[in-house]
């Protein structure tokens, strides 16, 4: 009998889940938002996304192949996720070369410097976005280039903050379905929620971070609205949940595995932190949007959260 015996320590079977499949699921979950973006802003969205994804994969490959001289892992699809999320954080009219620079920062500095997949202390796509926001503030906040007939050059967050638009004048249905003023990936709230539900159903993310972030923002908004009372009580919280990058950030950016906490308790603390910092920046800071900075700051706190929020040991109270 021709037979070869294998030996290894237990366990000898494995669940169906694989890293590549998780990354594929995230990409799939982003497709509805991408579709809304293409519908609202036009085909340029696809081009920018393609450039971002291709540059991220290329930089990862080049760094692993020629700088680190090791195994290349672009097959795990994590660079695709980073590329797509980076594109989602850019305005559709951005020049292509800025996208390439963003990808280099995201992959080169945000990810590979720290050891690649799973080792990055900060969300790589966010690292790229924040770099671009500081280096190219004009191009990063120009929302009109792609759509010449856009109503305004500013996002709704900026308009409301500047007092140009009153909360009662905001069209909440458009915010939900798809609007023109914002980064490519943040303009279709419903599509983002749909993607989030898919990720929850597939078990890719747990509810703790998104619910903590959005819940905190809503509660914070409610508290701020109390002095004014009336319709503001629901308009202010709802506006902050739907406008800007709240949903994109809470569902897709803050849940980045390696830069978020490992236990449910830790995830809640992390999410609450993001919610508070975002609202503080949005309401009283210099920037109209604070999501990116809030996630970035809480990414930095994650190791500390992990140290103090350990799972409940079996047999202890």
């Amino acid at each position: 009998m021709q037979t070869r015996l294998f030996a290894a320590p237990s366990p000898h079977i494995h669940g169906a889940e694989r890293t590549q499949q998780i990354m594929g699921d995230v990409v799939l979950a982003l497709v509805p938002a991408l579709a809304v973006s293409v519908y609202v802003l036009g085909w340029r969205v696809l081009m920018i996304s393609a450039i971002a994804i291709a540059s991220c994969m290329l930089f990862e490959y080049l760094i692993q192949r020629f700088l680190l001289k090791g195994r290349t892992t672009i097959g795990d699809l994590s660079a695709v996720v980073t590329g797509l999320l980076l594109a989602f954080n850019l305005p559709a009219g951005i020049p292509w070369w800025i996208v390439v620079i963003g990808a280099l920062v995201a992959i080169g500095i945000g990810k590979m410097t720290f050891g690649g997949l799973g080792c990055n202390p900060f969300n790589p796509a966010l690292t790229g976005r924040i770099f671009l926001l500081i280096a190219y503030p004009v191009q990063m906040t120009d929302w009109t280039t792609a759509v010449p007939d856009a109503i305004s050059g500013s996002t709704m967050l900026a308009n409301v903050k500047a007092g140009a638009v009153a909360l009662s004048e905001v069209d909440y249905l458009t915010l939900l379905g798809g609007h023109m003023n914002g980064s490519m990936g943040e303009i279709g709230a419903l599509a983002l929620i749909l993607g989030g539900v898919y990720l929850l159903w597939r078990g890719v993310i747990s509810w703790h971070i998104p619910v903590a972030v959005l819940g905190t923002m809503a509660l914070f908004g409610l508290c701020v609205a109390i002095p004014e009372g009336g319709a503001t009580l629901w308009q202010l919280p709802l506006f902050h949940l739907l406008a800007g990058g709240a949903l994109l950030g809470a569902i897709f950016m803050a849940t980045d595995y390696s830069s978020s906490p490992m236990t449910h308790k830790g995830m809640i603390i992390y999410g609450v932190g993001i919610g508070i910092i975002t609202m503080v920046i949005r309401l009283w800071g210099a920037y109209p949007e604070g999501m990116s900075f809030a996630i970035f700051i809480m990414n930095a706190v994650t190791p500390l959260i992990n140290k103090y929020c350990r799972p409940k040991r079996f047999g202890t109270k």
Partner: protein, 449 residues
Amino acid sequence: MRTFPIGGIHPHDNKEWSKDKAIERLELPDQVAITMIQHIGAPSTPLVQKGDKVLTGQLIGQAVGFVSANIHSPISGTVTAVDGYANGQGQRRLMVVIKREGDEWVEGIDRSAEHKRECTLSSEEIIAKVKEAGIVGLGGAQFPTHVKLSIPDGMKAEVLIINGVECEPYLTSDYRNMLERAEELLTGVEILMRAVNVERAVIGVENNKPDAIAHLREVIARDNYRGIEVMPLKMRYPQGGEKQLIAAVTGRQVPPPPALPISVGAVVCNVSTTIAVYEAVQKNKPLIERVVTVTGKELKSTHNFLARFGTPVSTLLDIAGLPEGDNKLLNGGPMMGRCIVDLTAPLIKGCSGITVLSGKDAVRGQELSCIKCAKCVEACPMGLEPYLLSKLGKMQKWDAAEEHNAADCIECGCCSYTCPSYLPLVDYIRLAKQTVAANIRARAAANKK
């Protein structure tokens, strides 16, 4: 429906391959090899020499100390060697090799099929008989049963839990025993209740075995077994782990090591072990055989054999028909079973089944890097951080591993099973656990001096 509080996974149970195969008595082997260590504790001392004649059921290995177990000859014949041979894992172990001549039993063993229900023995007498018969945990742990039944001073048992969970995928030996030997099992439960002096016993069975649950309930009602309850449990691995089962049944969690189940008033005993207790106490029959499942998707046939210990693994596999190509042979199930690398190795007391994984299933997936997805933290039934412990084990940071409770690990394998990057988490945690446990023991010994 009840289950344990944290962690756990849902692997496909793969019971369908062998669950409908009735228990069949395997023909007596021509030769057996009996390992002198088939239990947790001190190895037994061989009582026979080359050339000695032995009878079936004769004591051939004497327990050394309290935590140890007697070993009896499973066949009659002549001892041809007492020497070191490879066990299933290829480790050299002292074995007594016996060549079979006929099947002559030691006097006093009741081999009739008659069911003997009445038992008037005291707790001490029952435990003495269990000890004499060399009974160990047949679920796989091989912990001497008489030690479990001896309640430490100052402690009191409140409930006896019979482990009929069989949460390991593929294995069906406990299941067949519950279906085909319910009377012996239930009388065994009554005897154990006398031994540990409790009024209540719970047989925990997962809800993937509804016919076993129904059958046990029917026999309990028909034959009027008092104080015995069958509790269906929601299917989830590792429910058969002692601490998980106690938590599922009683809602109480055994505190971290070194606390024992008795600290929450529970004594746990496996189904097959309980039947062995019945045979030892009512029939004077020592532990010389067991039901062993031989299963696998690619095998020509699957079986639930009643086989004598010491039977070569190859005998079982020859009947089942091992497929050509790549195979992984497991002593036990796929979650916690240990690989068998030597086909001449003998069947041992703790072998509830031989699972054969073939082809692609025999090979591990390729390891990627940890993506910190926290799925292992969620899956761990002991509330540990497997990703971190594994890393600490790899880096040999034993003090940090101890601080993160490496000694709590039950090696159930949920973390490795669930890891999307195919990291061998348990491999390194096991290493950390063993080193940490040794360090703790060494410190305790030093403190005594």
